[in-house]
């Protein structure tokens, strides 16, 4: 099965992200592949191992996003493509989804598009569904397992109420939940291969589309209001005494 995995480069989840002088900064924390996207790659590689075909990683971003794509290659993806264009600066989810859908069509012969649950920077969690909608493909979100069979795929989805089994024809799009299993580490051979790989860069002109106006703007990003909390330490004469005091305090808060 030929699969495209759409990935994003983001600041590491351990980064202390703050707004400083109107700019979002994360100190010297590294930029990494969005952690949720690793699960999408894992799902794609498992499918490829079962069915053959090619896994291609695609990312929209600046030149630095090549590093995230190299991680994808080192994990075992066969190809990587960077889509980079200054006209995509400030693009909203819809504009990015349109670019990804066009790139998936240009790649040709793609039967499945895989996405992470959401990117840990913008926390939008809509790009997969929007790309699927542009392509006219069914969207199966938050899959915890996926198998190829017959003319399509069978997935299990994790939803709030439980687990749903869904069958879909191909082509289709999925987003992948953490329940798929631990993503593999890049292999030594994979890292060597990735370090030598030339990653093609596509512009909007290469895709034959113009820059779309963004429907949503983010004029301002601020630090959250400080949590004004005065911590009261509870001590006492042994665990029972402490527990009694703490229970009283909590009941006084009237939150139960």
């Amino acid at each position: 099965m030929n699969i495209v995995v759409c990935i994003k480069q983001v600041p590491d989840s351990a980064a202390k992200v703050v707004v400083d002088g109107g700019q979002v900064t994360w100190g010297d924390a590294p930029l990494v592949m969005n952690p949720w996207d690793e699960y999408a790659i894992e799902a794609a590689l498992m499918l490829q191992e079962a069915t053959g075909g090619e896994v291609t990683a695609i990312s929209v971003g600046g030149e630095s996003a090549k590093e995230a794509l190299k991680t994808a290659l080192a994990m075992g993806c066969g190809q990587a493509i960077l889509i980079s264009d200054p006209r995509l600066e400030g693009a909203d989810s819809q504009a990015v989804a349109r670019v990804l859908a066009t790139a998936i069509q240009k790649t040709g012969g793609v039967e499945l598009a895989a996405f992470g649950k959401q990117a840990i920077d913008g926390d939008m969690g809509v790009t997969g569904a929007q790309t699927a909608r542009f392509l006219g493909w069914p969207m199966l979100s938050l899959v915890s397992s996926v198998q190829a069979g017959g003319a399509g795929i069978q997935v299990e989805r994790t939803i709030e109420e439980g687990r749903q089994q869904v069958e879909s024809k191909l082509p289709a799009a999925i987003s992948v939940s953490k329940d798929i299993g631990e993503p593999r580490y890049p292999s030594f051979m994979g890292i060597r291969k990735a370090s030598r790989a030339a990653i093609p860069v596509w512009t909007l002109d290469d895709l034959g589309i113009s820059a779309a106006a963004s429907a949503v703007r983010w004029p301002e990003v601020v630090n959250p209001p400080a949590r004004e909390v005065k911590t009261e330490m509870i001590s006492g004469d042994g665990p029972q005494d402490i527990a009694e005091k703490l229970a009283e305090k909590i009941l006084d808060e009237k939150v139960l």
């Binding site: 994790t158 879909s168 429907a215 959250p224």
Partner: protein, 347 residues
């Protein structure tokens, strides 16, 4: 401005999700500022009953569609009905609760309607005729003010961020039936089965969450059954600790959460993880037991109303967020705390 604010009432197997009522609050705020009225829409099996119930929470009009093609939730036929209703009603704003379904429906409707999507918002307003919303980003480490430049504006509201409107059982109305839009033959997926989640309160809806971290395994006094290797013994210890966490959650009618460290160590399934790569929660009471408070955990729970931390390490960062802190052994404190609440709450 003429037009309507359309609210999607999310339901599962005929029961509306409480988060759906909260969405109506956000709708009323926007309706007042835009001079719009509020309409609600329920889809799926027995959607009429959900629609009937929806009147209690105050919308002027309620629509529903109960069709064989909508019995099992699938994004495409649901989107098609919502998009048609939004066009027919001249919707200026579409609102959904931030659930798995709500988020993906909002995403897809935005494509069909050419509107902007703002998922998981915590506050809404109107400036210069445009819908603006606050969205936590970077897992709540920052807050983005977002503006929708096109119509309709499409938002999902974070669960528990808006207050549920007071229901009034005497309010009623006649919901309007809509037709399905996509014939079954055009729908490319099929739901083959469903298994309900194992009992317990869902983390995102919970009023109270009691969470455990690495510290729950830290009881050398316990002797694991013979024949376990070190890792098995560690997990066994952790499970004894999580039993105490679960007992307290049980007495408080709450849910059990966990830190990423506890999940990664194999102590408890991922479904319980609170934090940047788990669930983002904001209960009224969050009790963190044996959790140091890594930045990515804080991101998932810092908007909880009252935070209580129990930890052996007095320097644990979690105490900086906590209203009440106890430096001590959770194995000693938790059973006493459970007992203290059992007594006081008459359970």
């Amino acid at each position: 401005m003429s037009g309507k604010i359309l609210v999607y009432i999310d339901q599962f197997h005929g029961a509306a999700l409480p988060a759906s009522w909260e969405v109506l609050s956000a709708a009323y705020t926007l309706a007042e500022k835009l001079g719009n009225s509020v309409a609600a829409l329920a889809l799926g099996k027995d959607a009429k009953a959900v629609a009937d119930q929806t009147f209690q929470y105050g919308p002027e009009e309620v629509y529903y569609c109960d069709d064989p093609s909508l019995v099992d939730y699938r994004a495409e036929p649901y989107t098609a009905v919502i998009v048609k209703a939004a066009k027919d009603l001249n919707a200026t704003v579409l609102l959904f609760p931030t659930t798995t379904r709500g988020r993906e429906l909002a995403a897809m409707c935005a494509i069909d309607l050419g509107g902007g999507v703002m998922p998981d918002v915590t506050a809404v307003d109107v400036e210069g005729g445009k819908v603006v919303a606050s969205r936590p980003v970077y897992a709540g480490k920052l807050v983005a003010k977002t503006v929708c430049e096109t119509q309709p504006a499409i938002l999902t509201t974070r669960v528990r961020a808006f207050k549920k409107p007071q229901g009034d059982a005497s309010r009623s109305g006649t919901p309007v039936r809509l037709e399905a839009v996509m014939p079954e033959s055009e729908i490319r997926s099929k739901v083959a089965g469903y298994a309900q989640a194992e009992g317990g309160v869902s983390l995102t809806d919970a009023n109270v969450i009691v969470s455990g971290g690495r510290g729950v395994a830290n009881n050398p006094a316990l002797t694991p059954p013979a024949g376990m290797d070190d890792k098995q013994a560690e997990i066994w210890r952790a499970q004894q600790g999580f039993k105490l966490v679960g007992d307290l959650a049980g007495v408080l009618g709450g849910a059990v959460g966990a830190s990423r460290a506890a999940v990664d160590a194999g102590y408890i399934p991922y479904a319980h993880q609170v934090g940047q790569t788990g669930k983002i929660v904001s209960p009224d009471l969050y009790i963190a037991c044996g959790i140091s408070g890594a930045i990515q955990h804080q991101a998932g729970m810092r908007s909880s109303k009252v935070i209580v931390a129990i930890n052996k390490d007095a320097d644990a960062p979690i105490f900086k967020l906590a209203r009440y802190g106890v430096v001590g052994d959770l194995y000693a404190i938790l059973p006493s705390l459970t007992e203290a609440f059992r007594k006081r709450l008459g359970k």
